[in-house]
């Protein structure tokens, strides 16, 4: 307990750091996935390429990607951008197919009605297709966020910061308090972000609730 009291300040700071390392890739991944998912839902050829290619990226072990990234990006080995890039790739891998599928699932009659009322392509996407995709988007983001929370800790193996430091330090110095504090902090962060995203999704989708007829 005294370890915790002595290190609480640092634990809190590193937690924030960890949060950023995990969530920036989620946001960037979302911004990349939306247009890719839209392309895949719009053109069959785009789908045939994008869905399998982004899907397979998920099968590459994270450690391998962490090591390859500096070669691909031309960055320093310990640059945090490497981890962020990898996590972004995983996020994209999770989201593209889901987005393409959910955009496809918007009923033809709803799309035709939107066009018939005078929405142009872009207007229709933001006013109709995107809001209807929110439940699937939120589900995908929750998975990506929780996954990234733990992957950032793995990223510590190549020394990028985040709560992984407490695990590695703890193991090297047989400091169990440090290990447990690190694990608990990661789990709490993951639960917190998951809950927040769930609440956000709930607030954005009032039409999915309430009694039917």
């Amino acid at each position: 307990m005294s370890w915790l009291a002595d290190n609480f300040q640092r634990l809190a700071e590193v937690s924030l750091d960890h949060l950023g390392l995990a969530m920036v890739p989620v946001s960037v991944g979302l911004l990349i996935s939306l247009p890719l998912g839209w392309l895949a839902s719009r053109w069959r050829l785009a789908r045939r390429i994008l869905v399998p290619v982004t899907g397979i990226l998920y099968a590459i072990p994270s450690l391998a990607l962490f090591v390859i990234m500096p070669l691909v990006l031309g960055t320093q080995i310990l640059d945090p951008v490497n981890v962020q890039a990898v996590l972004t790739i995983y996020t994209v891998s999770l989201l593209v197919r889901a987005i393409a599928d959910t955009l496809d699932a918007v009923p033809e009659s709803v799309l035709a009605a939107a066009s018939a009322m005078g929405y142009r392509q872009a207007g229709r996407f933001f006013a109709v297709q995107l809001p209807l995709a929110v439940p699937v988007l939120v589900a995908g983001l929750r998975v990506a966020a929780v996954m990234n929370m733990s992957l950032v800790a793995v990223g510590q193996l190549i020394g990028v910061g985040g709560l992984g430091i407490f695990l590695i330090d703890g193991v090297q110095r047989s400091n169990y308090a440090s290990i447990i504090a690190g694990i608990v902090a990661i789990v709490v962060l993951a639960l917190l972000v998951d809950r927040l995203l769930a609440i956000l999704g709930w607030a954005l989708t009032p039409w999915t609730r309430g009694s039917r007829r």
């Binding site: 009322m117 005078g118 309430g210 039917r212």
Partner: protein, 376 residues
Amino acid sequence: MIEFQAVTKRYDDGTVAVDNLDLTIADGGITVLVGPSGCGKTTSLRMINRMVEATSGTILLDGQDVHAQRPATLRRGIGYVIQNAGLFPHRTVLDNVATVPMLLGAKKAAARERATELLATVGLPAELAKRYPAQLSGGQQQRVGVARALAADPPVLLMDEPFSAVDPVVRDDLQDELLRLQSELGKTIVFVTHDIDEAIKIGDKVAVMRVGGRLAQYDTPAALLANPVDDFVAAFVGRDRGYRALGFLSAHGVEVAPLATVALGSPVEAARAKLDSGWAAVVDEAGKPLGWVSAAGLSTMEGSVQAADLVSGGSLYVADTGGRTGSLRAALDAALSSPAALGVAVDSAGAVVGSVSAEAVLAALADARKAGEVPS
């Protein structure tokens, strides 16, 4: 006015959906495009608002080529009611209806006020405004679809099988509602259906199309029933078209004979004394028909005639009173559907005025034929 001039649509895969269509659609009426599935009705409709582009030919809307206008602008001035309503699931009923006014730049409050009015216009209670489409019945959704299409008060309304997905009773209500709305609004409506009965009920003019996208006949419903141009149209219009054609002939010549009536609650003895050929119609205090009693039925009753003892009646014929006149079809159906073989004729308030028999209807029809009132 909407004019199709030699309009052809050939899809990319070579399907000719509409073939050299010439059609003039008058203002202020309901023009129905009807034909079997796949005959090009939807394609024709969607070429008017350019959701489908014609391959060749010209479509004029009030004398202006639709191609001279940008699609989104054109569409904001044309109401479109789609099969299955196509409501936006994530918007409330009110916001669905407010969509086009908002697109046209109206303030949110003004658009919602307009939408509230429209819900009343299409016969929806105001409580539904805050609901989401999934919380409505199919019939209610279709009404919202109509309200949404009317929101910007477009002169032209395109309707693609709007009532096909609801059950027959609701469909009938929606059709009546559309006719009532149209009598108030006087829009130019192009209505697509595969249901010839619906076409005949609601159309001022009906265009029958055949597969391959060719126009088979363009006529009033009465003329279509009386004079189909060929076997295809005759078969499509249906076997009982002779009977249905009676729906367009006024029954003003049909003799309305006296009808034996008994007030509900009368003593059984008094009722028995009133029977005519073994039957009497039972009426309430306002004279509205409630059902029938027969000699056989009265023989098992005691005390007075009660509502539970009645044989239910057939359809009613609104006789020639107060300016409204039923059709020969209504008169004949009243006679045929009555357990006493006598149709109950009522006035416009619904009170019994007499009876009509099938013989009287046929006699009136024969007279009308002789007088040349029946197209043949």
